[in-house]
C-alpha cells in the first residue's frame, strides 16, 4: 500500500528532536499536529516526548508548548483553557493535552477525570507505548497481558505481565464526554479524521493513540507502522469512536478476517517467551477473541 503524507514544509513538531529511530509516538504527534495546525497550544506531561523534544535551549515545537509535571497535563491544560476564555483569546485556538500511557492510565488518571468531568474545551491525547519507556520499560496499567518489562520480567515462574490492559478509552467514554476515539499511526487517515472530529467538537475529547516503541517492545525500528497495522488486523487494538458515551461506540475499521495474534506477537521481543509456549499464545488469542466478539469483529481467518 502506498501512502502519501501531506506536504510537511510547515511541520509543527520539527526534526532534530531526540526520539528513537522509528518511534511510534513521535510519528503520532506529527500526525495530530498536521491536523491541528499552528493555532494550537499543547500542555505536555513528563515523559519521552517532553525529554526528547525540549533539551534546553533547543525545542522541536513550533507552537506554544508547556510542560509542568508527570501527572497534571490535563490540569495544566484546564488552566490554559480557562485563562484563554477569560482573556477572550480562546476562539479559534486548540488547547491540547499530550501524555504518554503512564501520564494517562496511571499517575495522570485523576487529573484527566477531573478535566473531562468539568467540561473544559481540551483535547486530550494519550500516546500509548504500553509501559514506562522513558524510565526504562517498567510495567504500567497499559502493559498488555504477557508482555515482559523490567518490572514484570518473564522468568521461570513468570509469564511477564499478569494483568490485562486497562481499558482507558472506555473509562474516558464513561465520563459521557462528547467524543472519544482510538487510533493508530498505521491507519493515519482514520487517525487524522478522528483528530479533526475531536477538534471540531466543543468540550472535552479523548483520543487513545497506539504507538509502538522499538526500544521497549524490542522490534526493529522500521516496523512501528507494520506492528500498528497488525495490532488492528489481529484485533489486539480496536479502532473505534464514541460520541457522547460508551453506548454510542462505533467500530471505525473492521478487518474482513482477523489475523492470528501470533503474527503480532512474533514481531516483538517482549513476547518472545510467550511464543515458546503454544498454550500461552492460545490463551492470549482467546482473550483477544472474546474482546473482539464484544465489539462485533469477525473471527480469525483460516
Amino acid at each position: 500500500m502506498t501512502v502519501v503524507i501531506r506536504n510537511t514544509d510547515k511541520e509543527l513538531f520539527t526534526s532534530g528532536h531526540r526520539g528513537c529511530a522509528g518511534c511510534g509516538e513521535m510519528t503520532a504527534v506529527r500526525q495530530v499536529l498536521m491536523v491541528a495546525g499552528p493555532n494550537t497550544i499543547v500542555a505536555n506531561a513528563t515523559g519521552c516526548l517532553e525529554v526528547a523534544s525540549t533539551g534546553y535551549p533547543e525545542t522541536a515545537w513550533a507552537i506554544p508548548w508547556i510542560h509542568v509535571a508527570f501527572e497534571n497535563a490535563a490540569a495544566v491544560a484546564s488552566g490554559v483553557e480557562a485563562a484563554l476564555k477569560k482573556l477572550g483569546k480562546k476562539e479559534g485556538v486548540n488547547v491540547l493535552a499530550f501524555a504518554g500511557d503512564g501520564g494517562t492510565f496511571d499517575i495522570g488518571l485523576q487529573a484527566l477525570s477531573g478535566m473531562l468531568e468539568r467540561g473544559h474545551d481540551v483535547k486530550f491525547f494519550t500516546f500509548d507505548n504500553e509501559a514506562y519507556m522513558n524510565t526504562g520499560i517498567q510495567r504500567c496499567s497499559s502493559t498488555p497481558y504477557g508482555a515482559s518489562t523490567t518490572t514484570s520480567p518473564a522468568g521461570r515462574v513468570s509469564i511477564g505481565e499478569s494483568r490485562p490492559k486497562k481499558p482507558i478509552a472506555a473509562i474516558a467514554a464513561a465520563h459521557e464526554v462528547p467524543y472519544v476515539a482510538t487510533a493508530t499511526i498505521a491507519y493515519f487517515q482514520d487517525l487524522q479524521k478522528k483528530v479533526k472530529k475531536a477538534l471540531d467538537t466543543k468540550g472535552p475529547t479523548f483520543m487513545h493513540i497506539f504507538a509502538p516503541c522499538p526500544t521497549g517492545w524490542r522490534h526493529s525500528s522500521d516496523n512501528a507502522v507494520q506492528i500498528s497495522r497488525l495490532a488492528v488486523e489481529t484485533g489486539v487494538f480496536i479502532l473505534w469512536e464514541a460520541e457522547g458515551g460508551l453506548e454510542n461506540l462505533k467500530v471505525t475499521y473492521k478487518p474482513k478476517k482477523r489475523k492470528p495474534v501470533e503474527e503480532y506477537l512474533k514481531m516483538q521481543g517482549r513476547f518472545r517467551h510467550i511464543l515458546k509456549k503454544p498454550e500461552l499464545v492460545a490463551e492470549i488469542q482467546k482473550m483477544v477473541d472474546e474482546k473482539c466478539e464484544k465489539y462485533g469483529l469477525p473471527p480469525v481467518e483460516g
Partner: protein
C-alpha cells in the same frame, strides 16, 4: 476612599483577590481555607467579579491549573492549607521556576498526623525551599493588605515570582475583625492589569518547562535565586508606596521596644499581637524585653534581623513549627543571620502553639524568663524548649 467591614481572614484575602480583579481561580476546598473559594464563587455568582473559577479535583490540580492559567497570561489566585499545600509540593517548585506570579492565601494549619485543623506554621515552613515568597499576616487587616500587595510584588518585572500569604488557621481565617479597604478605583490605580513578559501565545510560540541538562540547570536555579535575593528593595518600595496611598505601614521585619532590650522574642503571625502586649506588661515590671515580628519569611530578612536583635544578650525564637531532629526552622535561619557577625547574642529556641494550642501572655513571660536565665548563665541548654508540653500525656512509642 477608605471603607470598613467586619470580616473573617479568609474573606479579607478573597476581597483582596476580587479587588485585584483576578482572572482565574483554581481551587479545592480544605479547612480552614474553604471560605476563600466560597467567597470567590459568590462574587462570580453575583456578578461582582468576572473570573473563571476552576473547581478542580485536588490541590495538585489546583496549582497545576494555576500554572497553566498564569502561563497563558491570566492573573491567578488560589488558597489552600496544610495537607493541600503538601499535596502541591512538587508543583510549587515548578511554578516559581517558571517565574509565574501566582498569589496563594494559606490558612496556616498543622500537618497530619495526627490530623489536626488548627493554627501551626509547619505547612508553609515545609515549603520554604520552593522558591516562593512568603508573607505572614498578624491580623485580618494585614491579610487583606499583604494579599493585595502580593500581586503587585509578584508581578513586578524585577521579581516575577509567586507568593504565599499566610494567615493562622481559625485565629485569623475564621475570626471577625474590622478591615479597612480602599475603593476599587484606588486599587486599580495601585495594581494595573498584569502584563506578562512571556505567554502561551499562538502568534509568538514559546516552549515553557523544557528539559535542562547539567549544562544549564544551575543557571536556571541561580537566576531564580537571584530574583528572590534581589526582591527586598522592590518589596520595600511597594510597602512604602502602599503606606503613602493607604496609610498603613508594612515592614519585612518589625521591631518593638528592641533598642535597649536584653532579651528579644521573635515570632510570626497572629501571636505577634499577644507578644507585644506581653512585652508591654513585662516592661512595666522592669524586664528589658523586646519583640520582633517577621512578616516576610522569604526572602529572609537576614540584615534586618541582625540590626534589630544584634544588641540583645539573647534572642528567643517562639515558633509554631518544628523540624524533628533539628530545632524549629526559624532557629536555623536566625542563627544563620548571625553566624558571620563579630559579636552576637545567644540564640534560644522555643516551640509554641503547635496544632492550635493556645499561646498566652504567660507563655511569653516564661520564654523571657527562661531566656534571661540562659543569658545570665551564658549558655543555652537545652537548645529547644517546648512551651506548654505535658510529657506524661504523650502517647507511647515503640518498645
Amino acid at each position: 476612599m477608605e471603607m470598613k467591614e467586619i470580616i473573617r481572614g479568609n474573606m479579607a484575602t478573597a476581597l483582596a483577590a476580587k479587588m485585584a480583579r483576578v482572572d482565574v481561580v483554581p481551587a479545592f476546598p480544605i479547612t480552614p481555607s474553604t471560605l476563600f473559594p466560597e467567597k470567590i464563587s459568590e462574587y462570580i455568582a453575583n456578578g461582582e467579579l468576572d473570573a473563571e473559577m476552576i473547581l478542580v479535583e485536588s490541590e495538585h490540580s489546583a496549582i497545576s491549573a494555576a500554572i497553566g492559567a498564569s502561563a497563558a497570561g491570566a492573573r491567578v489566585a488560589t488558597a489552600t492549607a496544610s495537607q493541600g499545600l503538601a499535596l502541591m509540593h512538587e508543583v510549587l517548585f515548578i511554578a516559581s521556576a517558571m517565574r509565574l506570579p501566582i498569589v496563594m492565601a494559606i490558612g496556616n494549619r498543622a500537618l497530619s498526623g495526627p490530623i489536626n485543623i488548627w493554627a501551626d506554621h509547619s505547612d508553609t515552613m515545609a515549603e520554604r525551599d520552593t522558591g516562593w515568597m512568603q508573607f505572614y499576616a498578624e491580623n485580618n487587616q494585614e491579610a487583606f493588605d499583604l494579599m493585595l500587595m502580593a500581586f503587585r510584588i509578584a508581578e513586578d518585572r524585577r521579581v516575577l515570582l509567586p507568593a504565599m500569604v499566610g494567615l493562622d488557621a481559625f485565629t485569623l481565617t475564621h475570626t471577625m475583625e474590622p478591615v479597612d479597604y480602599p475603593s476599587q478605583e484606588e486599587v486599580d490605580d495601585f495594581l494595573p492589569p498584569y502584563q506578562p513578559p512571556y505567554t502561551l501565545d499562538v502568534n509568538r510560540p514559546m516552549t515553557f518547562g523544557s528539559f535542562a541538562t547539567p549544562e544549564s540547570y544551575m543557571e536556571f536555579k541561580w537566576s531564580h535565586t537571584r530574583a528572590l535575593e534581589e526582591s527586598p528593595p522592590v518589596i520595600d518600595e511597594i510597602f512604602e508606596e502602599y503606606k503613602k496611598r493607604f496609610g498603613r505601614e508594612y515592614k519585612r521585619v518589625t521591631g518593638y521596644m528592641t533598642e535597649d532590650a536584653d532579651v528579644i522574642i521573635v515570632a510570626m503571625g497572629s501571636v505577634s499581637g499577644t507578644l507585644r502586649e506581653a512585652v508591654r506588661q513585662m516592661r512595666k515590671d522592669g524586664i528589658r524585653v523586646g519583640a520582633v515580628k517577621i512578616t516576610t519569611f522569604r526572602p529572609f530578612p537576614f540584615k534586618e534581623i541582625v540590626e534589630l536583635c544584634g544588641g540583645a544578650k539573647i534572642v528567643a525564637i517562639a515558633e509554631r513549627a518544628i523540624s524533628p531532629g533539628f530545632a524549629g526552622p526559624l532557629f536555623g535561619e536566625i542563627a544563620g543571620a548571625f553566624i558571620n557577625q563579630p559579636s552576637r547574642p545567644l540564640i534560644s529556641d522555643f516551640i509554641i502553639g503547635l496544632g492550635g494550642r493556645d499561646v498566652t501572655l504567660k507563655d511569653f513571660r516564661e520564654i523571657a524568663s527562661t531566656a534571661l536565665k540562659e543569658a545570665e548563665e551564658g549558655r543555652v541548654e537545652p537548645l529547644v524548649k517546648w512551651i506548654n508540653i505535658n510529657p506524661e500525656e504523650a502517647p507511647p512509642g515503640g518498645e
